[in-house]
């Protein structure tokens, strides 16, 4: 995809996990751990996006955001925070952050959000969303496959919208829950499984090609082709030197 991300994070274990997780998706990542280095790196490297941890030892991550926005730099910034309360979220968004993610997060969600904020700037929202044979009319909330209308409930329509917006990406149960509920509440019934199964049966009845795939242990993905198995991505990444982090001190 050719995305370059600057990660501002002082926890080496988490930083490394994010770096590795992003490189598995061919997202290049550079790690800095202090506010000063971060401000300099944004200016010098011009990353496509910044992942910013708010709790840096001794420093407030928001200072990076303030400095970047003070220079009228529109680089998308995703805030990573352990403080999940409303005030904290609002404070970050008020300073000009593009998105926030509360720790602990799921890697697929981080990836989905990073791709979303890097795309956001050059994407024009039309009145329809399409993916392969699927078409969602955003104004009438009607869904078609190969021109044939599918009778979906509002919940299912909302789910398919999320899937189309994140085509070929893993959506976790938590992300789906959030889409349905606008809360992180998951409940104790198998809510997501039930809805995905219904959506899948409506989507795929009478058609050969499956569209929604279950990624075991991680979530679901909308894709025209069978998702790559895990082993395939293993080899090239570990040998690919260009994806190794370049650390700035």
């Amino acid at each position: 995809m050719g995305i370059n991300v600057l990660l501002v994070e002082d926890d080496p274990s988490l930083a490394n996990a994010i770096l590795e997780g992003l490189s598995d998706q061919n997202i290049k990542c550079e790690i800095v751990s202090t506010v000063a280095n971060a401000i300099q790196a944004v200016r010098d490297r011009r990353p496509d996006a910044v992942i910013l941890d708010l709790m840096l030892s001794g420093d407030n991550g928001l200072d990076v955001l303030k400095a970047v926005r003070a220079q009228r730099d529109p680089t998308p910034v995703l805030i990573l925070t352990a403080l999940g309360s409303l005030e904290n979220r609002v404070a970050g968004l008020n300073e000009g952050a593009d998105d926030y993610l509360v720790k602990p997060f799921e890697m697929p969600e981080l990836i989905a959000r990073i791709t979303a904020i890097t795309r956001r700037n050059n994407r024009i929202e039309g009145s329809t969303l399409t993916y392969g044979p699927l078409l969602l009319d955003l104004t009438t909330r009607r869904v078609f496959r190969d021109g044939k209308e599918l009778k979906l409930s509002p919940t299912e329509t909302s789910l398919i919208e999320l899937f189309i917006r994140h085509e070929n990406q893993v959506l976790t149960r938590k992300m789906l829950c959030h889409q349905l509920w606008e809360t992180n509440w998951e409940g104790e019934t198998n809510v997501i499984e039930v809805h995905i199964n219904r959506l899948r049966s409506k989507l795929e009845r009478g058609f050969e090609q499956p569209l929604i795939h279950t990624i075991r242990g991680r979530g679901y993905m909308l894709s025209e082709s069978e998702p790559k198995s895990r082993t395939e991505s293993l080899e090239p990444l570990d040998s690919d030197e260009s994806n190794k982090p370049t650390k700035i001190e």
């Binding site: 996990a17 590795e20 602990p104 509920w181 992180n184 409940g187 039930v194 293993l234």
Partner: protein, 486 residues
């Protein structure tokens, strides 16, 4: 069908039900005790005052009588000392007139010679009046009469040792006794009236006295421990009740700061857990993504599952502390509760139909409440989630939203599920309570045991009520009552 008490009563106030009954009785007897003491005091005072008054009157009357008799005796002794020979008819007539008009009732006078033989007496002398022991000059009583004797020494007599005659004069005590018994009757009436009015006045008075205390009790019973703005009102009189209210307020403040410290501790711990949890989850996810399917990846997947559970727990603990603090009342807006329920109906119908449970959204009335939408969704989701989870296949769940004339919105979710035993009912909304009966661990994700506690905290934070009625084996009815916006 309906069993059990309001969860709030059983839950937070523990066995206060018994205590409150006791408190009521205590209040009652205290009032009665005060009234009884007051009544006794009034009656005893009336009795003492009456008794003293009667005695004073009696002593005064007695003294007056005695004084009059002594004065008269002195006067007649002097007259007789100057009379020689017999008593002239004029004098006798004058003395009889004196007797008849004397202010003392039945006043009489007798004159004796030196041999103690009656020489003259007024016609008013009572019959069988004794004449012996004339030498006794003390005040004496005979029958209803009081009398006294005095020796007479004639002015011409040479021997002043031996009296030349005697007089005896006295009067009837009838009038005095009549007056006293009249006074007794009057006092008895007064006492009876005091005896009847006393207890009534005492009850009224003790109620008046205890009114501020009753008010204080009512206020204290309505106090919410978590709402910092709620305090007992001081009347500004600086009396004992004000000092009691002040003490209770200080206690409340201490309890609240302790509670707040606990909640802060939970919130801080949860925050501290998030970063390492994020590191663990992310690392495991990356490794899991690179491993081929097999035993190792299965093991890592279960690590991830546990992380997810921990994450959920941390999330809910934070939500709980947010709801306990000012959070519930922050970020509120007017929400059409009925629309929120209608909008999510298809979401829950799908869940229910997967278990062959029929979900009926019956009477959903227009209802606007003032709440944080995220919190309200959590409440709704949790209650319906529980209903679906604990209702076996082919059961039914009825959802009803009504608005009462008292301007309260009630969401009623009635299921035909497995129900809750009476013992568990008292505990369902406690933190970390989990009843594992009726849940299939294979198909249902592990719960944190915080759900209902969060619901309760949110609902009560919005000045609402959570009420759960249940019969083991036949179903549960959950009611959430929130104040409506007119």
């Amino acid at each position: 069908m309906v069993l059990g008490d309001e969860v709030t009563t059983k839950e937070t106030e523990g066995n206060l039900l018994g205590q409150s009954r006791m408190r009521y009785w205590g209040k009652y007897t205290f009032r009665v005790r005060t009234a009884v003491i007051l009544t006794l005091f009034i009656l005893l005072t009336a009795l003492a005052v009456g008794f003293a008054f009667r005695n004073v009157v009696s002593i005064l009357l007695d003294n007056q009588t005695n004084l009059d008799l002594r004065d008269d005796a002195q006067e007649f002794v002097e007259q007789l000392e100057s009379i020689s020979g017999t008593i002239s008819p004029e004098r006798a007539q004058a003395w009889n007139r004196h007797a008849a008009t004397h202010e003392l009732h039945h006043w009489f006078l007798r004159v004796f010679d030196k041999n103690e033989v009656v020489v003259w007496e007024t016609i008013s002398v009572p019959e069988a009046m004794i004449a012996n022991h004339l030498s006794n000059t003390e005040m004496q009583e005979f029958g209803n009469y009081r009398f006294l004797n005095r020796p007479v020494y004639h002015s011409s007599a040479s021997n002043k040792e031996k009296p030349t005659g005697w007089i005896q004069l006295g009067c009837s005590l009838e009038l005095v006794q009549d007056s006293l018994s009249q006074l007794d009757r009057l006092l008895l009436w007064v006492f009876l009236i005091v005896g009847v009015l006393g207890p009534i006045a005492s009850l009224f008075l003790s109620a008046q006295l205890l009114n501020p205390l009753t008010d204080l009790t009512k206020q204290a019973a309505a106090l919410s421990v978590t709402d910092r703005s709620q305090l007992l009102g001081l009347r500004g009189s600086g009396d004992e009740l004000d000092s009691l209210a002040g003490t209770v307020n200080a206690l409340l403040a201490r309890v609240r700061s302790q509670l707040q410290a606990n909640e802060d501790w939970i919130a801080n711990s949860a925050h501290q857990l998030r970063s390492p949890l994020a590191a663990i989850t992310s690392n495991v996810e990356v490794v899991l993504g690179r491993l081929p399917e097999g035993k190792s990846s299965d093991m890592l997947a279960s690590v991830l599952n546990e992380c997810e559970y921990l994450n959920k727990l941390v999330q809910q603990l934070l939500l709980l502390s947010e709801a306990n603090a000012v959070g519930v009342k922050a970020k509120r807006s007017e929400i059409r509760w009925d629309e929120m329920i209608r909008q999510s109906s298809d979401f829950f119908e799908a869940l229910a139909s997967a278990k062959d449970i029929s979900l009926k959204f019956d009477a959903i009335t227009d209802c606007t409440v003032f709440a944080n939408p995220e919190h309200l969704r959590i409440v709704l989701h949790n209650i319906l989630d529980n209903a679906i989870k604990y209702t076996p296949p082919n059961g039914s769940i009825e959802i009803e939203l009504t608005k009462s004339p008292e301007n309260e919105c009630t969401l009623r979710v009635k299921d035909t599920g497995i129900g809750i035993s009476e013992v568990d009912l008292a505990r369902v909304s406690r933190r970390f309570f989990r009843s594992d009966s009726g849940r299939d661990p294979a198909t249902t994700p592990r719960g944190t045991g915080l759900g209902l506690n969060i619901v309760k905290t949110i609902v009560e934070g919005l000045d609402g009520r959570l009420q759960i009625d249940s019969v083991l084996g036949s179903g549960t009815t959950v009611r959430i009552v929130l104040p409506a916006i007119a």
